[in-house]
């Protein structure tokens, strides 16, 4: 037996009271897995409370569970047979606790579905099987329990087997096997003793367990590295996350969706152990990149030739767990791996009763608790997914409302496109009425003034436009103010005298404030050489409760002069223009800028990445205004 091997996780599901917890308790007891004195202690407690002893109390530890003889919440217990080690998961059967059943079952490799012989196939016997299929749990063993109550009759067993086989086949599932048992009597759990069960020659429950196949991670799947966070605790800029599928190696060229930025893996970081060359599915890793591209939580790295789907719309099957029904056209938070975006359901095409499998086709407005619906989801910002049958980890999501997970679902039917040629066209939905106080919340970000300052030719306009594109791509409200769109209209009556320059900056400051107040991230690209003017612009913004972020676009004068894109330096040197900043007018560099980019050392992407990294946290909608 290998201690090293990963544990097989087996969930016990089925209708309320059909004996799941009892069966687990019995398994633990009959295999000598319990700590000394455990049974005696429970027996003693039961006597003191005048309750009948139940094996289920080994799992149902909460007082409320014991008082009602019911499982409320799911439990996990390690367990071993002579063959291997397991984690056994007990799940509640009561309809009320379906969310707890899902919590328990979602991580399982296989399921034991328990049906009591005296009651037969019931509502949750069916619903649980259906949910297992949605959760991706494919291996099922059916235990026909409480057969003692049917005198271990083969006919009783066969009837249930027949009915349930039929039901599973409608779901496109098959059970590995059907096993008769009595958990209470310990019959055919670890061993078979009762002559009444002689007609059966198959496995005991334990043997059936040991015959479940280990679900090894699928090899050769495409890489999906989901970014959790970026760390800069020291000089390193580490991109931390989990490899959900596939593998990555140092030197691999990665593409990050949805930004579509590409860079090679420089290192795989580690602490207190040699840096690995490769990381595989399941690994929590941190990597550094060769180029300093902008990456953030939610991005998904893949190899270039096998990228995930990037879309604003997808089709999915959703199960709903919350009391409040899912409503069409209502905003929810969608979480796929580490992505979190606003979404709404734009169509509910069909609804299935997850127990009877009765399907109701035709448009619906709502999805009630415990219903499963086939829907179309729409997000504002681009969503990165895979079809669930291809890569489960990127093909499943949860819907969150008011901070609580209300439903889950799986994606199907998405179309993969060649990322190198197609850039997604985002579809946006129309906004309802927006009150000023909720603007930031509605937009998902706050308005702000991002004030770029620097010499002519330092790269302000280029960076402003690239930054605008980056923000826009994320469905953020953004706009660039620069000489081109301000000088010709708003400031067309201003020249270049010292006075006019001051007025120019003042007006830009005022307009920027208004736009920031309306929720926009305004990017200004003016030389704005004087500290005093920039301070005024900051004060104006702050008056309007807008965040003001000063970005110093820094490049030595010599470099700017060499670039001289508009030949202005040449003209200034020749005396054809006067009061030119850097030549015959001063440039007062910021003393304490919020962000500095060195355009002589970084390329545009790197500069934008530097700005984005420091800017985004300051735009978060939930931050209190300073």
């Amino acid at each position: 037996m290998s201690d090293e091997a990963q544990r097989l996780k087996i969930v016990f599901v089925g209708h309320v009271d059909h004996g799941k917890s009892t069966l687990i308790g019995r398994i633990l007891h009959d295999t000598g897995s319990l700590p000394e004195g455990k049974i005696a202690a429970i027996q003693q407690a039961c006597e003191a409370e005048r309750m009948e002893f139940e094996y289920a109390f080994l799992l149902d530890a909460l007082l409320e569970e014991q008082a009602q003889n019911i499982t409320i919440d799911t439990t996990q217990i390690p367990f071993r047979t002579a063959l291997r080690r397991y984690v056994i998961i007990d799940a509640p059967g009561h309809k009320e606790f379906l969310k707890n059943m899902i919590t328990g079952a979602a991580s399982a490799d296989a399921a034991m579905l328990v049906i009591a012989a005296n009651e037969g196939v019931r509502e949750q016997s069916r619903r649980h099987a259906y949910l297992l299929s949605l959760l991706g749990v494919r291996q099922i063993i059916v235990v026909v329990n409480k057969l003692d109550l049917a005198n271990y009759s083969e006919q009783a067993f066969r009837e249930i087997e027949g009915e349930y086989r039929q039901f599973l086949s409608e779901l496109g599932m098959t059970a590995r096997e059907f096993v008769p048992a009595s958990a209470k009597q310990g019959e055919n759990v670890a061993r078979r003793t009762d002559p009444a069960l002689q007609w059966y020659s198959g496995h005991t429950v334990l043997e059936a367990l040991d015959h479940v196949e280990s679900t090894a991670a699928l090899p050769n799947q495409p890489l999906r590295f989901c970014v959790q966070d970026i760390y800069r605790f020291d000089a390193r800029r580490i991109i931390a996350g989990k490899i959900e599928s596939g593998s990555l190696r140092v030197g691999d060229q990665l593409i990050f969706s949805p930004a579509n930025k590409s860079s090679a893996v420089a290192t795989i970081e580690s602490w207190n152990s040699p840096a690995p060359e490769e990381a595989i599915a399941g690994d929590s890793v941190g990597i550094t990149l060769r180029e300093q591209i902008f990456v953030e939580r939610g991005h998904v790295a893949s190899h270039e030739n096998d990228a995930p789907i990037e879309t604003n719309r997808c089709r999915a099957d959703i199960f709903w767990m919350a009391e409040e029904p899912l409503r069409k056209e209502t905003e929810y938070i969608l979480r796929v791996a580490t992505q979190e975006l606003k979404c709404k359901v734009v169509a509910i095409e069909q609804v299935m009763d997850s127990s009877t499998l009765a399907t109701e086709i035709g448009e619906r407005e709502r999805l009630a608790r415990n219903e499963v619906g086939r829907v179309t989801l729409q997000t504002r910002a681009p969503l990165v997914v895979d079809n669930h049958d291809r890569i489960p980890a990127l093909g499943r999501f949860v819907l969150v409302d008011g901070g609580r997970i209300c439903g889950g679902g799986i994606v199907f039917g998405g179309v993969y496109t060649d990322r190198t040629t197609v850039k997604s066209k985002n579809i946006f939905w129309s906004e309802g009425e927006i009150t000023p106080t909720h603007r930031a919340k509605q937009n998902g970000h706050r308005g702000a003034v991002v004030w770029l300052t620097g010499l002519s030719g330092a790269g302000k306009s280029t960076i402003a436009l690239a930054l605008e594109g980056e923000l826009f791509q994320r469905a953020m409200h953004t706009y660039v103010l620069d000489g081109d769109n301000v000088r010709h209209g708003l400031n067309s009556n201003l020249g270049f005298s010292a006075e006019d320059r001051v007025e120019n900056i003042r007006r830009v400051g005022e307009v920027a404030k208004l736009m920031a107040d309306s929720g926009t991230v305004v990017i200004t690209a003016f030389i704005s050489p004087y500290r005093l003017d920039r301070r005024r612009a900051r004060e104006i913004a702050l008056e309007g409760n807008a965040e003001f972020i000063e970005v110093f676009v820094d490049a030595p004068l010599q470099v700017c002069e060499e670039r001289d894109p508009k030949h202005l330096y040449k003209k200034a040197r020749a005396g054809q223009i006067r009061d030119f900043t850097g030549i015959d007018a001063p440039y007062e560099a910021p003393d304490d800028p919020d962000i500095v980019v060195r355009t002589d050392e970084q390329n545009v992407d790197e500069s934008v990445a530097t700005i984005m990294e420091q800017l985004l946290p300051r735009l978060r909608a939930d931050d209190p205004i300073d």
Binding site: P35, P78, T103, E269, W271, S284, R335, A337
Partner: protein, 271 residues
């Protein structure tokens, strides 16, 4: 070639994932640290998660009934790992005379641990606490979530826990509430020891047998009993665990004071 990952790799990866989710989801995180074996594994996993630097404070709730050797270890480890250590004592309760000499263990544990923790929380306004509890320690802990919300009174709403699956957690706390983040939930006592062995994690010497006795679980001095054991190396401890059938917390008096003592303690905010 892909080398297969072991059970311990899997646990480590999952814990690291949880640490990173917690650090990202919450603004103000702290990690209680008892200097016990689980706590030290937790520190170790945090160092792995954040590449050598733990970016939040570590909290020792000092009941004033601590073993001197544990305090020595605390000071050594604080230096060694460059921890940002906060020590909290419920001085008010001690001044009132609350102590094992005069009170029952449940009361003392509540006052000197849970209430002390509440006081520290009120001072520092943490919205998440990263704890080292494991499912196999106690049947009520077996019902826990990786992210487990606590209300402003520190109560655990065990009758209506949020769903948690596919790596999606209850990662928001309302004002005054907090979330217990429990990266070691899936680990067993044996896993902890195997990992300590594999990673060579420093732990206090009291876990190893001296004069035929060692501690299996460490709490307050007056209510923690040593077990008889000859296990003086980690390998011997693991071998001992393979054969023992007594439970780990058998030596911790507050758990067994009355029926379901743990549930009552835990519902009121005990870790």
């Amino acid at each position: 070639m892909q080398s297969a990952r072991t059970h311990l790799d899997h646990l480590e990866n999952q814990s690291v994932f949880i640490f990173r989710e917690a650090y990202r989801a919450f603004r103000n995180v702290a990690m209680p640290w008892s200097m016990g074996k689980d706590s030290n594994v937790l520190i170790w996993l945090a160092l792995k998660s954040f590449f050598g630097k733990i970016p939040f404070p570590v909290l020792h709730i000092d009941t004033t009934y601590e073993f001197p050797e544990m305090l020595e270890f605390r000071d050594w480890a604080t230096q060694h790992y460059q921890l940002n250590l906060i020590v909290k004592i419920n001085a008010e309760a001690r001044a009132r005379g609350v102590g094992y000499e005069t009170h029952d263990p449940v009361t003392v544990t509540h006052e000197l641990k849970t209430v002390a923790l509440q006081q520290a929380m009120a001072e520092h306004k943490w919205d998440a606490l990263i704890t080292g509890i494991r499912r196999d320690e106690d049947p009520t802990r077996a019902k826990e979530r990786y992210f487990s919300p606590r209300n402003a009174q520190f109560e655990w709403g065990y009758k209506d826990q949020p769903p948690e699956f596919w790596g999606q957690f209850a990662s928001t706390a309302a004002k005054g509430e907090h979330v217990r983040v429990q990266p070691l939930l899936d680990w067993t006592e044996a896993d902890i020891w195997r990992y300590i062995l594999r990673e060579k994690i420093p732990i206090p010497g009291m876990y190893f047998a001296r004069n035929g006795q060692r501690y299996r679980s460490l709490g307050c001095m007056p209510i923690t009993k040593a077990i008889s054991s000859e296990a003086s190396t980690i390998e011997e401890i693991i071998a001992e665990l393979e054969t023992t059938r007594t439970s780990e917390r058998a030596g911790r008096a507050q758990d067994h004071h009355e029926r379901n003592a743990m549930q009552k303690l835990r519902a009121k905010g005990f870790l």
